[in-house]
Symmetry: C2
Subunit: 438 residues, 2 copies
Amino acid sequence: MDSANLMKAIRWHPPSYDQRLEDIPTPMLQHPDDVIVKVALAGLCGSDLHIYRGTDKPMAIHTSGHEFVGTVVELGSNYKHSSVNDTKTEGRPSLYDTLKVGDEVVSAFTSNCGECRLCKQGITCRCPFGLLFGSPRLEGGQAQYVRVPFGGATLFPTSALKSEGKSEIAAHSLLLLADILPTGVYAAIQALGHPKLATPLTGAPWPYSLPGLTTTGAVPRTSAETNDDVLHFAVVGLGPVGMCACVALLDQLTTRYPTRKWKIVAIDPIESRRRTLETMYSTIGADGKGTGQGELVVRGIEEAKTTVSEWTNGEGCCAVLEVVGNASALNLSYDLVRPFGVITSVGVHPAKPVGFEGEELYNKNVSLDFGRCPARAMIEVAAVLLAKRQDIFGSAPGGSNSLIEAIEGFKQGPEVVKAIYEKFDKGLVGKIAFDPWA
Amino acid sequence: MDSANLMKAIRWHPPSYDQRLEDIPTPMLQHPDDVIVKVALAGLCGSDLHIYRGTDKPMAIHTSGHEFVGTVVELGSNYKHSSVNDTKTEGRPSLYDTLKVGDEVVSAFTSNCGECRLCKQGITCRCPFGLLFGSPRLEGGQAQYVRVPFGGATLFPTSALKSEGKSEIAAHSLLLLADILPTGVYAAIQALGHPKLATPLTGAPWPYSLPGLTTTGAVPRTSAETNDDVLHFAVVGLGPVGMCACVALLDQLTTRYPTRKWKIVAIDPIESRRRTLETMYSTIGADGKGTGQGELVVRGIEEAKTTVSEWTNGEGCCAVLEVVGNASALNLSYDLVRPFGVITSVGVHPAKPVGFEGEELYNKNVSLDFGRCPARAMIEVAAVLLAKRQDIFGSAPGGSNSLIEAIEGFKQGPEVVKAIYEKFDKGLVGKIAFDPWA
């Protein structure tokens, strides 16, 4: 490990649109809980553009990127297998006991301590000690090396997957576990887990569909006949996260509700994204059971409104997954959701009004879920789906159903790296993975 | 039944603040599903003020009031016991078979057909044929008689309660079932049923706290230690619905989670409301088990922020019940809710922006539930609580823990009725029940 030396890293420079491939010192351990990871691949994610485009606030120069997969090269002294210490405090996350130099790891896109009240509840996205990789407060992964705070809590060892006999998952596939697949799964399970979906999913009438709520039997109750009904969903935004959300939703529906009929409309104004999802969907359906009792269609925005109206006689979808992150996507979601429906928003929203009036939310009994995916907690669930759907998530970059368009090496030089960011910002290229060593 | 004659009714007149006690024709059956009810008591509810104060749109003169209890005096021909017909279509709600002239009934504050897809799912508040009593489209209950559309679906026969041996529930207590108690129960069970509360309630870490979501066991998982934690709640707004929400929340917590510790801060700027709730709370706690492992405190707005911060070390409440219906109540709820928490809003909101920015909702992982209580579906649940807590909900009007301040008779004349509305609008009197015959 050449921590005294320089390394290549993509650095954000103020005020905006100035991404530079530079030589900077390799990171060093700063805390006994730290891990230094040698990066194999680092993703370029749509939410990187929030910083790339600049903000109102002055920001420090920093290394970009919050998605990376790599290999452990150095462990802090709180790790049992650290070269500087072989003891460990009891009761900490087990990875402090087991992680070794040479282990392959994926990092959640935010660090988390793993030991606070929120982390123990699985709410790793709101750990008070958590930081976003690739932000002014924590150097990112688009570099040859990266320092991971609370490595024993933040990192996911890919051996956890390999013990399942899935030893052949490529780095470009594992990279999806850093952010986009957990976030897509999060959108799907939040929507399906909402109590307003309990009635359409189970057939029990509200409120008896809620856990723990029973009637005495002495009062009359209505009966629902929803098991023959079709469940309708919309997914707004078919960037990489939206596509993951579609696959996760399909998987949840077919595995947890195999006898239920459902329809999904997946929506994006960009035709190439719609085409990619169609290819993915045909992959899923290829085994004759992947889609169960359901149907997914891909639509532009206006067509989608017509489709939902026709499908539901104007009622709307029981849940809408919003994977864009702005007021117009929320408004479209409102138009598409049925009364007493759920909008699950995993998009990263700006500091602008959401655009809803109280009366319209009241008048439609809308429920909304906002916020960042608790990535480290969700990686565990997403990893199962990653292994299961290697036909999609294992596709070689650039393939017709691949979420990653290309792997780009740092050796192409600063001008090429700068141009990649520019093209990505303009939507001229899809998701890119950087190989810092190629 | 003197349907050809005149009756007394409180009528809304444009443009605003002009409530008149008048003689108008008694209502007649307009549809075979209709029921005519002789009103025993009709409530004056805070949301009546939305119309009282006028709107931007021109509105027709109409009878006010959406809360009433009374006796069936005439049945449409689709009822088995109608004087004009003794047949009935099969498969309709059972009340079309059983309802008789002379039966005591409470009406949900909105009508609902009971037979559409939404009604069968218990989403009676969003029945496409449903109307709000006391609005330009459906004459209200502050009258001697009222026509109830879809009576077989909209009405709740109090015999359903009496069969439980609760024959002594007074009309002023049954009146609470029209709106405020179901709405309070709705707020409580929506909050407790939200998947974001599954972890604090059960101790299972997110996302494994969600129904149907299991890990393969091959991946590491964090463990939650929440069963020893205290659950924190806030209730914003202690009008009659807010008080019902408090009692419902207390009941749900003590009956469904008897071993869990919890704390509730109940918030209102008006001291008299805080005092009433304190009296109610002491009633509940009087038997030594009503409050279980918990504690409820009553606070003004600024004090409440301090209390929640102290209780939770600045983290916030796992759920906030918003029972006011405006942007400032929502903003207070945001301040009080913890990251990954739930705001359940049952307040009737105006056509104004909710005031949230997307970024703040994202940054705190907030979930929000809006909308009208599915009253007819919730009456069934609320009735159980009404019978159980007659020590509170049976209190004589004007008592220190009563939700109803006084019963006012129509015979006092138009000027008194007009003055009651004026005082209610200014917050000078609490909840009033009208007796149209006294």
